[in-house]
Symmetry: C2
Subunit: 185 residues, 2 copies
Amino acid sequence: MPRASLSRETVVGLALRVVDEEGPAALTLSAVAARAGVATPSLYKHVRNLAELRELLSAHVMSEISARIGDAVLGRSGDEALHALMAAWRSYVRTHPGRYEAMIQSPQPGVAEAGERLVDVMFAALRSYGLTDSGSVHAVRCLRSAVHGFVLLEAAGAFGLPESLDDTYELLTRMITAGLRAPRP
Amino acid sequence: MPRASLSRETVVGLALRVVDEEGPAALTLSAVAARAGVATPSLYKHVRNLAELRELLSAHVMSEISARIGDAVLGRSGDEALHALMAAWRSYVRTHPGRYEAMIQSPQPGVAEAGERLVDVMFAALRSYGLTDSGSVHAVRCLRSAVHGFVLLEAAGAFGLPESLDDTYELLTRMITAGLRAPRP
DNA sequence: GCCTGAAAGCTAATGCAATTAGCCTGCGGG
DNA sequence: CCCGCAGGCTAATTGCATTAGCTTTCAGGC
């Protein structure tokens, strides 16, 4: 394989830097090519098109999140696991807001697969609550919704008031953990 | 004012139809112009550029949501008000998924203003819980995060399993209402 | 050490959307 | 009846995605 200065992975890496530094809207093949020091059409030797690059990027970010969260939950259970999970998730998005935004706007295909790991981690974190199977499904959905909504709004700067966002997230965490322990209706 | 077949409002209306029928990605000046039966540059007589159209659209959608939710909460209080608020929000997004997605990707400026009404409605709905001022702020943020996250994931088709989404939303609603009644830590 | 084929890059060309500049015209108020 | 201008138009520019087809480099076989 000649002249392997670029590769699929390198291209995705450069794309990550673009969204990190200039935001998801700046992710163009031209921008990536410029960073690679290469003409735009050359990228087509590594990715099918912009849509595929977006998908690869999304899948990469999703994997990264799953890994972080998986690590955070390791060896913990119950409220402690939930707390660690939510903290790790938020922390990732605060560190890479551009990546998270870029992730959510790509179509599902490859992302769904990478997302399954995250869902698995969430199920594992909930195991000690002793929920039924379908109870876990609902619980995971609620957890996911709450965290996803919060980190998105935080990243968008949608919380203007001076109150501490840490306190808010703490409250959200408690709502979830308490809700999981609450009796079935 | 001659030939007033188009107006700022008409243009926004056509843009709404575009995102409703073809999704937020299809919102281009060309698409709007085509529906208006007019050449693309003519739109510049009504909106400054595509960015402004997006902003107007976002503000419009935000107002629409606030109005719906405001109506839903009218005359209710406590858990009932919260329940109605969340139901109305989700219902709006299910009816117009394209609009909601289009709304969130525009920059803040005009949207923030329209969003304040929504925040006001949420504060009003929470009044009967007897929270402190800053307690209300945190509560509103949690409510907003949870609902926003859920409707976004639902609209994106991110919930693949067969379990009832209505049940999940019911659980989420209960987590919020219960969390508001819970003692301070 | 030379030859070859495919990988990886390049240039040229097409098409579409945004945006700008400048022209044309219908029509409401005088 | 005339004038001004709002509102529409065409032409032209720019930037990005994508395709086609050419060129170069280098890994291996001879």
